[in-house]
Amino acid sequence: MTTGQVRNSRGFIAISFIAVLFVLAAACGGEVSSPAAGGTAAPSAEVEHPPSSPTVLPSATDVAAPAVSISADGESWEQVGVPDSSSNTDTTESDPTEPPLINTPSPVANTAPDFTLPSIQGVNYSLSQFRGERPVAVVFYRAYW
């Protein structure tokens, strides 16, 4: 009885797992096919638009149509421009608050500040002792490094 129940449960799990796989495969197939359809549709729409606009310009009445189009463009640019400026000020105000820095790194002069420090190897080292010999990588490290 118990082995039968175990087999039944295993079979149910396997079938449900396969069903989930099919659902996932169908979802992936739908996602792949839909962009392909959109991709083919989008170029055709773009191709259709350029012929339509040139045909509108010569066919439209000479005075009224250009005046309307210019005013519409001007309004649209003004509407876009105002939110952009406000959003820019928002980002500049929010950026300094996000980094975890408490102090800002101060700029260092081009010449590296010299130092002489004891080492755990028991020898003192100074930056200037390598001048003219080798470039030095001064590494400020924390415990994990």
């Binding site: 980094p99 260092v108 500040p113 130092f115 420090l117 080798r134 490290y141």
Partner: protein, 102 residues
């Protein structure tokens, strides 16, 4: 860091590691002594990380993980300052800058 040491040695760079951690503990000493490059410590004096502008950026009293590449004239030619806790610099990045010196 050991492999980085070998690569940097081949490139002719002298590593001077400066720690503002407390290296008095024997465990920390033993771990640091595994390094072949000099490990300098400034546990009692933070003036040097302050001069390099990397001290206490996170309010923890330590220097941030940063690297300054100093050429043979004592000029800083490249720097990478740790602006967050996870900042790390790959040895290849340093070697690339060293190659630019030549």
């Amino acid at each position: 860091m050991h492999r980085a040491q070998a690569e940097l040695d081949a490139s002719g760079v002298q590593i001077l590691a400066i720690s503002t951690d407390n290296l008095d503990g024997p465990a920390a000493l033993a771990a640091a002594q595994g390094y072949e490059f000099p490990v300098l410590y400034t546990s009692l004096d933070s003036s040097i990380p302050k001069e390099y502008g990397v001290f206490d950026l996170f309010g923890d009293g330590l220097a941030s993980a940063s690297i300054f590449l100093v050429d043979t004239n004592g000029k800083i030619v490249w720097q990478s300052i740790g602006l967050n806790y996870t900042h790390q610099v790959e040895a290849a990045e340093i070697i690339e800058q060293v190659e630019l010196l030549r």
